[in-house]
Symmetry: C2
Subunit: 743 residues, 2 copies
């Protein structure tokens, strides 16, 4: 097959060199960038503007690169090591130098890329498997095949850029020595990865499919789209079907969604250029555009929500999303995408990048709408959901409620966990992944052992832990088969509320969590309300942690602190990593239905108080404690960050946790003032009446509010009328939930 396909190509190209505008030569470049794009870009760099600035910057960098000797080292190092980083910078340099060749027409750029490609063509056929390969995804140039696929995605574009500047013999050498063997290694020789419905599979299929277009090998494209056997059991189309939910949510979460986006949108763009009849961007109701937009929506203050295995410094300015936003804008011209592009501050030298640059030059951007949204999980949208609640501007209050499915191997055991954001910062936070990407000294830059022993465990999250065991007993295979059930999601002005439940995380324990983000306009205050209802057949120990960001300021109860000795809180399932700093016996400290309050000060200068009901007489709790912990025990290599948390521990059969989180005041040592450093929540009362429930919030100034909720499983519209009776008074409310001022 390979030899057969090469022959006509060589022939046509030979012709291309002897006449003015040959048919096939006219097709280069034709992946992400086509000849029309090149023409427009060549014009744009003659005029001042954002695009010319980006071109000038890239030109300088590329020119500097040209003064360096080409080095294509024998692969040796794992991630972060010298040869790993060199091969990474090489493909980026080939790509950059190639596009500069297209824009300037100066042959020296093409020559540099050609020479590097020829060195790869010499080296690659001699390579065994990488000495530091990962057993489940082997590479040759790199320790894992994933990097090899990324190499080819870039390199095939660079080759496409300089194609016309090469002689047939040069093309033959490069294709035979480098492109084809890498493509075959990634496909025929790595069937497990290539056919996998997973982001590794997407990179591999994108690399091979794009190479198929450039080398004119339609079978490679077909295999990329429909798996090696064209059986549609794997391949790009199946990935598009399964990896995203109908709302564009990627099952591993936004961190990997961002990563996966790159090959999805890059390959899709190449398909669109070469075979527009496939209507790839319309496929599945425009799933690719939804995936791009939802990745943006799953961020706060430019950083992605750190769900599952996620490195917390990744955000919307990552190159994958720069590509995604540019391609999306190229397709739909939505001026709200320019808002994101402006924050990304990175103009691509592509046709779509030019459109973005021109849009920004003409100040066409409109604010990107960061609003409350439901992201259903699962291929059919029925495997739970991620709920994002927002109030005010993009950097005001947000709640992330994770009622999604497990998310495969990178998933965390954190069903129904939540996070709270305010004034630009994390307030109640998720640890994310335990990993120092590419830092050789930190476990070779891979996921640290503490990722499994801490970051994935339930206690590392803000959700219920029963008997100090993680959800699904930490069994990934079992976890992947189960997911929470979304009860409802309802968003209106000033009130977003959602509820979900799960009964498979533990043998005999079920829990249902209802979270609401409420704007109390009369008070100019936004609060979060959390109702976690736990039911079981027999007594258990329930732990509900709050991983808070900031410095503890005060509690309204006494704590017994460990002063000169620290011990761990437990010995497994993550508890072995927690130092027990202090404990408080709430049963002794508080009367029935009183509030336990914890106040902390975040780096953003604001105070936050979590107020939670204790000794509620409708529960049969025998014992309630608040445990204060710090992360870092059993961490011989000091791999963990020193985060703090407090854990509300209850021994009971059934228990309902009712809590309010309240941002308040300001600490401004620079301007020497401190405002409202104490909470203004005076009391909470929880009411339940069949399917209706209500949380009454009494403030210190006498104002009282009732959040009334209809928890029915039946359909509810805004017109549904309910009446809840509180202390003999009838309170009518409509719809799923409503905030009532009752005094």
């Amino acid at each position: 097959m390979t030899r057969l396909a090469l022959k006509p190509l060589t022939f046509i190209v030979f012709v291309a060199c002897s006449i003015a505008l040959p048919a096939v030569a006219a097709n280069h470049p034709n992946l992400v960038i086509n000849q029309q794009d090149v023409k427009a870009m060549k014009l744009a760099i003659t005029q001042p503007g954002a695009f010319k600035d980006a071109f000038d910057a890239k030109l300088s960098a590329v020119d500097l690169g040209l003064t360096q000797p080409i080095e294509v080292p024998t692969p040796k190092d794992a991630g972060g090591g010298y040869t790993h980083e060199k091969h990474k910078s090489n493909y980026q340099q080939m790509y950059d130098t190639g596009i500069i060749y297209q824009l300037t027409g100066d042959k020296k750029y093409a020559k540099y890329v050609k020479n590097m490609l020829l060195q790869y063509a010499q080296l690659y056929p001699t390579l065994p498997l990488h000495p530091k390969r990962k057993s489940n995804n082997e590479g040759k140039l790199f320790w894992q095949g994933l990097n090899e696929a990324v190499w080819l995605v870039h390199t095939i574009q660079a080759y496409d850029f300089i194609y016309d500047a090469l002689t047939p013999a040069e093309r033959n050498s490069i294709e035979k020595g480098a492109i084809t063997p890498v493509a075959l290694f990634l496909s025929e020789q790595s069937p497990h990865t290539f056919n996998k419905v997973h982001n590794h599979g997407t990179w591999a299929t994108a690399a091979v499919g794009m190479s198929g277009y450039v080398l004119d090998k339609p079978l490679w494209v077909e295999r990329a789209l429909y798996d090696l056997n064209l059986a549609k059991k794997g391949g790009f189309m199946r990935q598009l079907n399964e990896l995203f939910s109908p709302d564009g949510y990627y099952n591993e979460g936004p961190y990997y969604q961002r990563y996966a986006l790159m090959p999805f949108v890059t390959f899709a763009k190449a398909i669109e250029q070469n075979e527009p009849q496939r209507k790839i961007f319309q496929y599945r109701d425009g799933i690719l555009l939804k995936a791009i937009t939802s990745t943006v929506e799953l961020s706060y203050n430019k950083l992605f929500f750190p769900l599952n295995d996620a490195i917390k410094s990744k955000g919307i300015d990552t190159i994958e999303l720069v590509n995604g936003v540019a391609i999306a804008y190229g397709l739909n011209g939505d001026p709200r995408l320019l808002d994101i592009a402006q924050q990304q501050n990175n103009i691509l030298l592509t046709g779509d990048g030019l459109k973005v640059a021109q849009g920004l030059d003409n100040h066409l951007q409109q604010p990107f709408p960061f609003t409350s949204a439901l992201f259903r999980d699962g291929q059919h949208g029925d495997d739970g959901a991620l709920v994002v609640m927002r109030q005010g501007e993009a950097n005001d209050q947000a709640i992330v409620f994770k009622a999604t499915a497990q998310g495969l191997g990178h998933g965390h055991f954190d069903k129904l966990t939540w996070q709270f954001y305010d004034a630009g910062n994390e307030i109640v936070s998720d640890y994310g992944a335990a990993r120092f990407l590419n830092v050789e000294a930190k476990f070779g830059g891979r996921y640290l052992p503490e990722n499994k022993s801490w970051a994935k465990q339930t206690i590392a999250h803000n959700t219920l832990v029963v008997d100090e065991k993680s959800h699904f007993n930490g069994d990934v295979k079992f976890a992947n088969k189960h997911h929470p059930k979304l009860a409802f999601y309802d968003a209106k002005q000033d009130l977003t509320i959602s509820s979900a439940s799960i009964d498979t995380a533990y043998d005999d324990v079920a829990f249902k969590r209802t979270l609401a983000l409420v704007n109390i306009k009369q008070r100019d205050a936004v609060i979060g309300i959390d109702i976690m209802r736990v039911t079981a057949d027999k007594p258990h120990q329930y732990d509900l942690p709050i991983h808070y960001q900031g410095q503890l300021i005060d509690t309204n109860f006494d704590r017994q602190a460990s002063l000169a000795q620290l011990s761990t809180l437990g010995n497994k399932n993550g508890y072995q990593h927690l130092w027990s700093l202090a404990t408080a016996n709430l049963t002794k400290e508080k009367a029935a239905n009183e509030l336990a309050k914890v106040t902390w000060l975040n780096d953003n200068g604001h105070f936050y108080t979590l107020s939670t009901l204790v000794n509620t007489n409708f529960n049969n709790a025998t014992d309630e404690q608040m445990l204060f912990t710090q992360l870092g025990a059993n961490d011989p290599n000091m791999n963990l960050r020193q985060q703090q948390s407090f854990i509300h521990r209850v021994n009971a059969t059934n228990h309902t946790y009712v809590s309010v989180i309240e941002p308040h005041g300001e600490y401004n040592p620079s301007k020497e003032y401190t405002l409202a450093a104490t909470s203004s929540v005076a009391g909470l009362i929880y009411h339940q009446q069949d399917e209706l429930e209500a949380v009454q919030i009494n403030f210190t100034d006498g104002q009282q509010y009732l959040l009334a909720i209809n928890q029915t499983d039946k359909a509810v519209t805004q017109d549904t009328q309910n009446v809840i009776s509180v202390n003999g008074v009838q309170y009518p409310f409509s719809g799923r939930a409503q905030l009532l001022s009752i005094k």
Copy 2:
């Protein structure tokens, strides 16, 4: 005296109301702002520009204030409490509303200030001492007299602004009920504070002196300048003589220098307006201007160096320095001050504020020169010094070497400590003060108990601790009598070096530290070199801590970590607050003259490695350890931040610590690359030959450098020629120190 002085004033004012432009009325306002300033400002607010923007913003705020009822509550709360904050906001509001009256001429503003002043005039005479007063500095409106003085500094200016809008009877009420009793309370009734050569004294004398100008009481001014008895034992002039060194360094450090600056420059400006013949700004070779400039110079990335009791979020944008920079610019028109004013982004509604606004509108600013500098301490400049070493731009590398005197009650026991900064961040840091300013729940907002038990102790700093005791055994009175001796300071392009010693911090132990900041241009690398030479009569335990900012990445030796139990490192002098995380036996781990290396990753994305010599055979050390600690033990109220440190412990009689700190590489998880995560220092060799010494640095790539130093006590010029012999090779060098490339 009071009644006598009131009479002529009343008379003159009465006359003032009956003729057009009476002599005395013409003098209002005449403190920081005079009538000429008002005229210029009135013109400026008719034209677009930074000044008009500032006016418009202030006008809106003041107009909003006018809609609120006036409240002058009976004093009740300590710092941060309601009445405390209300009286603070009241004086600010009176000041702001008063200046708006001057600029608009609208009587409603004057009326609002008048009404508030009249309420104070009614309340103040009824007040006993504040219920929460501090014993050493009592107030009536506030818990401490200091706040009372600040109140009067603002209020007398507000009164001056509206003076012309008042009837004689109103003036009489306000002066008799509020201004005069507060001024007398601060002076005659608080002689200890008023006569004190200390920032509390400066606020008191400024308040009383400025009131003297407005109420035409020359005796008040004289007392403010020369103490209550006009004996020149205290007072403003003596404060100017003693509180600043000849280089403008304030003996408590930059945090309190910033605070003290406000009354100094405000009162000085009022003196200049009323009695220019005193030439106050020329006094003592222009000490006030030096004090303003040095406050700016004692900052890094906009924040002050956190020496002694210092809250770390304070920086050059604090209102005190906004005032200082504006007044300085008004005097000298130095365009480099506009660079700072631009960063402050706060235009004052004063004559000087107008000049700053116009300077910025006309883009006159030039970069402020952040360069290496020596700040001698002490009235005569011979009580040690603070040394600031810088390389590159303002936010590149800096070393702060603290060889100052104790700095009175706010001083820390940290002789010869250092800090290292790079790429905008603290790398080797100082804890600063343990305090949450104005946060009632945190010990009433005062200095926390941990300020004494931790923050002031020697182990909280990056300097030598002998036998786990703090310098001067933590005795402030004794400490105030001693100071380090500056051996030399030498700054040239690419090399800044300084050395200082002290032999009074411990009974029989003397130590000399030499610090250098070196730009190795051939390597494009800046490193810090630290030589700490300790001598004693008998064996001791020496601890040299590094309080590092970031996450530990690696050490080149094994650590024995405490996994499931933590204990404190000691039981007093700050050691009781340190958890012992891990220890390493360097004597066992390393051969003689090998390096112990610790690498960490700062939030700025760069790696830092401290490489230090161990088991040096020229020492008689019997045992060397590296101890890894975390702050937070014996902290029942969770008042301390969770900082980490490593401590090089040596048991010896004499010992020389030789270390290099090296910024390297970059961790960029957003762009997915990690560069140079490992140190490139391969070896250090310490050479000593009589008064000459040298540190040889061998890099992993084979390059070798020698930092040769002449430690003589005699004078050294750039022409002084020296020759040091290293392994039989003679290396000539000139001046105090020189970096030689030897391979």
